[in-house]
């Protein structure tokens, strides 16, 4: 068996590059779909974690499994932030022993960093669009720019936190401090996770290591990224702009 297997192994490696060059996307297993080779139900429906893309088999809703799952996850995240925002709204007036929110907040700075974060959504859209055109170089570029803009936002947040700490608001100073740092900290962690995902994606694209449908992976991380931005709009409005 082995003597047969050895010579055939290289040939049986899925030839992904050739498929992409021909403009044919590899299916979920990195194999070029051959008409008639797969019976309609031959595959596990959406046969795995990277399945169900436009080239996978039709799903009941027409949405790919991955995208539907991401939408579900983001729906769940809404309640996570809902809980954190409610906690902050309840406690924002309880700031004994520290400056009040209106004394602390540096609205011009946060406005600029918010603008930077919103612009990163634009670059994310450009990355998705490049990925759909199978333009790896521009995809990587726009993903990197998005990550840099996100990092700028996180940097501004770190700066802001340090400033607040020097002005007398620590995590344990009072309820306002605890709930403020928890809410914005959770958002900052989400952005950071997003940056890590973007950079990992850039690395994987450059090494050609993405399992499954590349454009869809980019799009999914894009969904996450836009969600994190939208949450920030809500936080920025409720926390910074509406006076307590």
């Amino acid at each position: 068996m082995a003597d047969i297997a050895a010579p055939t192994t290289p040939a049986s490696e899925p030839d992904t590059t050739a498929a992409v060059a021909l403009g044919v996307e590899p299916d979920i297993h990195g194999m070029v779909p051959t008409p008639g080779a797969h019976d309609d139900h031959g595959l596990v429906h959406g046969g795995g974690d990277h399945a169900g893309g436009e080239h996978g088999h039709a799903t009941s809703t027409g949405l790919s499994n991955n995208k539907l799952a991401m939408w579900m996850f983001l729906g769940s995240e809404c309640l996570l932030f809902g809980g954190l925002i409610s906690t902050y709204m309840l406690y924002r007036g309880r700031h004994e022993g520290s400056p009040s929110p209106s004394q602390l907040y540096n609205i011009p700075l946060t406005s600029v960093s918010s603008f930077v974060l919103l612009m990163s959504s634009l670059t994310m859209v450009l990355a998705v669009s490049a990925a759909q055109r199978h333009d790896d170089r521009n995809t990587s570029t726009w993903l990197t720019v998005t990550a840099l803009l996100g990092a700028t936002f996180v940097g501004a947040q770190v700066f802001e936190f340090t400033e607040f700490y020097h002005e007398g608001l620590g995590f344990t100073t009072n309820l306002f401090g605890s709930s403020f740092f928890t809410l914005t900290g959770f958002h900052g962690v989400h952005v950071t996770v997003g940056i890590i995902m973007l950079m990992a994606l850039v690395g994987m694209i450059n090494r050609g290591k993405i399992p499954g449908n590349k454009a869809e992976v980019v799009e999914m991380i894009g969904l996450y990224w836009h969600f994190v931005d939208i949450v920030w709009i809500v936080i920025f409005t409720l926390v910074y702009l509406i006076p307590s």
Binding site: G30, P33, T34, H41, H45, A51, Y91
Partner: protein, 668 residues
């Protein structure tokens, strides 16, 4: 003949050494590919194996939680027993409830859902098999982590809803509450990932022709439950994070002395906690809706009403959480609103009870054990439901709050409801899962002991509660015990005796399982003359579930393939047998079936989480290590294709270019 492209071990072992580069992630390990031995369980992503593992683990926790309950009843058998100290008693009732809710009923429902949902909708697996495996290991890791608190300074002692300020370090100085908060956080990840996975599975992977309104009720109820989990889990996640930040990082979210509002915890907890109640009961409602039609030989009465009332319960369940807080001084408007909303939720529940009863009406009833548990559920749940309505009336509830009346109520709905439903499911689907029938004779003992036991245990608690015996007290005093019929001492003793009868019933089940395993008869594939798709395959099913995916034309597809109903008389004529249907499906079998391959990463990722949690409690350096494990596993995972490459096998096997069918292995 269906061919699954998975090399057989025999084939893979022959031959000499070949240099290959594994396709596995990070290039560190060859990915697991074995389909036998312990590795085939630990690294599996097969929904059926995971379902069985969920079941075994959950049942183990059930026994642990049951022993905790017996200790509680031993302590309360007499007024001033000294079986448990006050501290031990507090830990015991907290862990009893936590175990039963989070480590038994929820994962047992997940066991049924995992195993049966893909089969019922005609799919070959769930949408995300590795995430499914990850969910199981998270649940197990979280449950074991939580229970290690017994050996590391004491369990949580604040009650399962952990009200502030009892949870602050001043009132609960051991690490118990930390274990509780972090353990539930980990099991919460299991629930959340499971919810996303199953929702996508139901919405996207139904067999051709199976519209949502042709889907079995069990699958429907599981879908509703997953939506409840999806939106309820993040709320308790927030609450548990705040609690952890308070206890381990110096914040004061629930410390009244620092100006905090203790009601914040109650709101967050019950916004999760009330949907949680329906998360516990709806899977059993689904099971009963499958069992009753089969053993009445009639379609479910008012299928649409059962489905929509289940969905209605799911929606209304979000608007009633504050009925747990009537005694906390919310103010008359809130109390009135939540009171009315709570009464409203009795309506869809009543609709279900009516539909089940009408399903029985005029049916050819077969009183199997599964059927008896299902009928038991209808009766016992209705009793619990009625006492529930008395809670929705806030003036009455104010009297009942924190008394044994409440304990009586939720045990009738949870034990008489959720657990009876699960036992109906055990007896009904046991031949499906294991190919052997549980003994009906021992099953009857099991059922009657449990029914008598539960009514003796929880029935008297109504009287005790109305007499004012508070819950969560490890002693009760004789002089408040009352006279005659209302004598508390008598009813406490009855309740304790009942608990042991109940335990005997559970023991009968364990004996039944053991004997069936030893010498149970191998059953035919369709022993109950069932109605839905999960029976339209072998028992136990092949690894790929169906040789060919059936096309669905009707609700109760399998039954309609077997029988034709005479339009005038309503008589059923057998037109096709089970064996003929199976032979036809095999003849039309799919040639290429790609099943997802096993993976190391789910278990590695899940085991990183309790390391982080131990680190938060004992030493932050440990957390850094745990986080590194998690990060490593995530990268390994995302670089790994869901189906193993040819070169992952040792020696490598012929890959499949999607062009040819190879007789690599026959699963069956």
């Amino acid at each position: 003949m269906a061919i699954a492209e998975r090399p057989s071990p025999v084939l893979a072992r022959s031959g000499g050494t070949v240099l290959v580069t594994p396709s596995s992630s990070l290039g560190v390990f060859r990915r697991p590919v074995s389909s036998t031995g312990w590795r085939s369980w630990v690294f599996t992503v097969d929904h059926k194996k995971l379902g069985i593992m969920y079941g075994v683990a959950a049942f183990t926790f059930f026994i642990i939680g049951g022993c905790e309950a017996l200790l509680i009843r031993l302590q309360l058998a007499a007024g001033s027993n000294k079986v448990l100290s006050a501290e031990a008693y507090n830990q015991m009732f907290t862990m009893h409830a936590t175990t039963m809710v989070f480590l038994f009923v929820m994962p047992m429902a997940a066991a049924f859902a995992n195993y049966l949902l893909p089969l019922q909708i005609g799919a070959r697996d769930v949408a995300f098999p590795r995430i499914n495996a990850f969910g199981f290991w998270c649940f197990l890791a979280g449950g074991v982590f939580l229970n290690t608190s017994w050996f590391l300074g004491g369990g949580p002692d604040t009650g399962w809803f952990a009200y502030a300020p009892n949870t602050s370090v001043a009132f609960s100085p051991t690490h118990g509450v930390d274990f509780w908060a972090l353990g539930l956080q980990i099991t919460g990840i299991a629930s959340l990932t499971g919810a996303i996975n199953l929702i996508v599975t139901v919405l996207n992977m139904r067999a051709p022709g199976m519209s949502l309104m042709k889907m079995p009720v069990f699958s429907w109820m599981i879908l509703v439950v997953q939506f409840l989990l999806l939106f309820a889990i993040p709320v308790i996640t927030v609450a548990l994070f705040l609690l952890t930040f308070q206890r381990d990082f110096g914040a004061a979210f629930f410390s009244v002395d620092k100006g905090a509002d203790p009601l914040l915890w109650q709101h967050l907890f019950w916004i999760f906690g009330h949907p949680e109640v329906y998360i516990l009961i709806l899977p059993s409602f689904g099971i009963v809706s499958e069992v009753l039609p089969v053993f009445s030989r009639k379609p479910l009465f008012g299928y649409k009403f059962v489905v929509f009332s289940g969905a209605a319960i799911g929606f209304l369940g979000w608007g009633v959480w504050a009925h747990h807080m009537f005694a906390s001084g919310l103010g008359p408007v809130s109390v009135a609103v939540f009171s009315v909303a709570t009464m409203a939720i009795a309506l869809p529940t009543g609709v279900k009870i009516v539909n089940w009863t009408m399903t029985l009406w005029g049916g050819k009833l077969r009183f199997t054990t599964a059927m008896m548990f299902a009928i038991g559920l209808i009766i016992e749940f209705t009793i619990g439901g009625l006492s529930g309505v008395t809670h929705s009336v806030s003036p009455s509830d104010t009297q009942q709050t924190d008394t044994y009346y409440v304990v009586a109520h939720f045990h009738y709905v949870l034990f008489g409801g959720a657990v009876f439903g699960l036992f109906a499911g055990f007896y009904y689907w046991w031949p499906k899962v294991f190919g052997k029938m549980l003994s009906e004779r021992i099953g009857k003992w099991n059922f009657w002991l449990m029914v008598i036991g539960m009514n003796l245990t929880f029935g008297p608690m109504h009287i005790l509660g109305l007499q004012g015996q508070p819950r969560r007290m490890q002693i009760w005093t004789e002089f408040r015990a009352g006279d005659g019929f209302f004598n508390g001492a008598f009813w406490n003793l009855v309740s304790s005796i009942g608990a042991f009868i109940l335990a005997l019933g559970i023991f009968a089940f364990i004996v039944n399982v053991f004997l069936t395993y030893k010498k149970g008869e191998v059953t035919p594939g369709d022993p109950w003359d069932a109605r839905s798709l999960e029976w339209m395959t072998d028992s136990p099913p092949k690894e790929h579930n169906f040789d060919s995916i059936p096309t669905v034309h009707a609700l109760d597809e399998f039954f309609h393939r077997k029988y034709v109903e005479d339009e005038e008389t309503g008589d059923l004529t057998l037109v096709t047998t089970y064996a003929e249907i199976m032979a036809e499906m095999e003849a039309k079998g799919d040639k290429n079936i790609h099943l997802p391959s096993p993976s190391y990463w789910p278990i590695v990722l899940a085991l990183g989480l309790p390391i982080i949690a131990y680190g938060i409690i004992f030493n932050r350096l440990l957390s850094v290590f745990g986080a590194a494990v998690v990060l490593f596993a995530i990268f390994g995972w995302s670089l790994e294709p869901s189906v193993a490459d040819a070169s992952d096998y040792d020696p490598p096997v012929d890959g499949d270019n999607g062009e040819s069918t190879k007789e690599l292995a026959t699963l069956g």
